[in-house]
Amino acid sequence: MFDPFIVKASLVTGVALGALYGILAVGLVLSFRMSRMVAFVHGGIALCSAFLYWYLTADPARTSGHGTNLAYATKEWPKAPAVILAMLLGVGLAALFAWVATGRMANWPRVTVTTFALGGMLIFTGITQEIWPGAFEIVPSPFGRGRVTIWGANVSHHQIAVIGILVFLVIVLHFVVTRTKTGVQMRAISDDVEAAEIVGIPVRKVSMGVWCLSGALAGLGGVLLTPMTRLGASVVLFVLIRSLAGAVLGGFRSLPLALLGAMLFGQVEAHTAGGTFGKISSGWREVILMAVLFLGVLLVVRRKRSQFRLAET
């Protein structure tokens, strides 16, 4: 019953989607480990960066308001500087947010700091809606429109690039986290903030640095995701929730598990949408994804509880 062509194509698309979710999931895990918050704000940051990138690179003739007096006067810059600017915007927004958030929140419950992050997301989203109300745009890929055939599946350069970026990121992060002084300090902070301060780790500086990094990742994620879908607040949210789901599977703490989770959700999404199991409406797709997410949370909570019991005895 499975059409091998569809299965293969979906597999490859799934890897690309998983890589995309993975980039955001890494940022979520990093922020959680620094600040104990589920950084919903990354959704807002990704959206802002995506809008900036689109504004700098899109062809005005292809924007939704073209031909009317509502047309958006987008610039037609080369892609590379636009990507860099978009990531820098991500860094800036994340730094601003972390500057407000960190410090005073050390003793707040996690739910409260997370609610604060939701506020950040809503404000950043609101800003884009003020400037470009109701936009739902086609965004050019930084890697052009080329496609190649790999292993019988038709893959775009963009998808290959996303996968490549994630692989690069994982290697670099793994090295930094396990082998460098900064990595040790990061892990120390996420184990026990006060003890980290006591032993002389510059906690504010390190966590600000990590926030900037995760902001850059959110910005990059925003730039990379919109060419695969379209640019709009709801689209970015749908991607964010899948990255969140991936991060949940790692209990928000484990990077490898979060990446695994992101890959899993990429596959689920690709196969349900691609038609491996026949035609599935987008509503059912969402239900299936939620079911997987729910099972994942159940597993994580179980695992945590058994660890807790071990620690108790």
Binding site: R187, A188, E194, A195, V199, G200, I201
Partner: protein, 222 residues
């Protein structure tokens, strides 16, 4: 070397310390004793800087450090081995020690590592083990070692004997004595007040957040 003048501190709006005046010299061992909840740990935490004073000042080596963040004070040469160990559970033993050496020159770190491993040989056998899986006593040794890694000139130790066998406690106090002879100032808070007092040059008694007595130790030499 360390001077504290009319220090007040607390948590949120809850005051804990009232008008603490205290000075510690180079090579001196000061023991702080007092009932539970007197504010001993709070005093050590305000000296290292994780509790912010509401009034008064703290002077270290002639510079005011009252409102400096902890990492700068560690850089100046203070170190605290906190109450309840507070080791980094998911880091290895070696990484735990290195975490305390954020700004320490590499040759000093190597030298201190040797010292720590001679003081607590068990740690040298477990360098790659996850610290959370150490026994309670081993964790306590690790916490003290982590404070020593930056080669501090002012060492603050909170409840060091908790969970340690008496023999090791005796060794520990001998080691502290040796450190003091090298010119390091030491402030120690300990439940087992006899050991602490006998090792100390002076004894400070705190009750309800105030110093009620500050006298030369009667315990003589250890």
């Amino acid at each position: 070397m360390l001077e504290i003048e009319s220090l007040r501190a607390g948590y949120g709006r809850l005051p804990v310390l009232f008008d603490i005046d205290l000075a510690v010299d180079e090579g001196e061992v000061l023991a702080i004793v007092g009932p539970n909840g007197a504010g001993k740990s709070t005093l050590l935490k305000s000296i290292i800087g994780v509790v912010t004073p509401t009034a008064g000042r703290i002077v270290f080596d002639g510079s005011r450090v009252t409102h400096e963040p902890p990492h700068l004070r560690v850089e100046r040469g203070m170190a605290l081995s906190p109450e309840g160990r507070r080791i980094f559970a998911s880091l290895s033993v070696r990484e735990n020690l290195l975490a305390g050496a954020a700004r320490t020159p590499i040759n000093v770190v190597e030298q201190q590592l040797q010292r720590i491993y001679t003081l607590f040989p068990i740690l040298s056998e477990r360098t790659a083990q996850e610290a959370g899986s150490l026994s309670g006593g081993e964790q306590q040794m690790l916490a003290i070692g982590r404070a020593l890694i930056s080669a501090p000139r002012m060492l603050l130790i909170d409840e060091p004997s908790m969970g340690l066998a008496p023999l090791i406690v005796a060794e520990l106090y001998q080691a502290l004595h040796k450190l003091a002879e090298d010119g390091i100032g030491i402030v120690v808070v300990d439940e087992r007040s006899t050991e602490a007092i006998s090792a100390a040059d002076r004894v400070c008694v705190i009750e309800k957040g105030r110093i009620v007595s500050l006298t030369a130790s009667t315990g003589g030499d250890a």
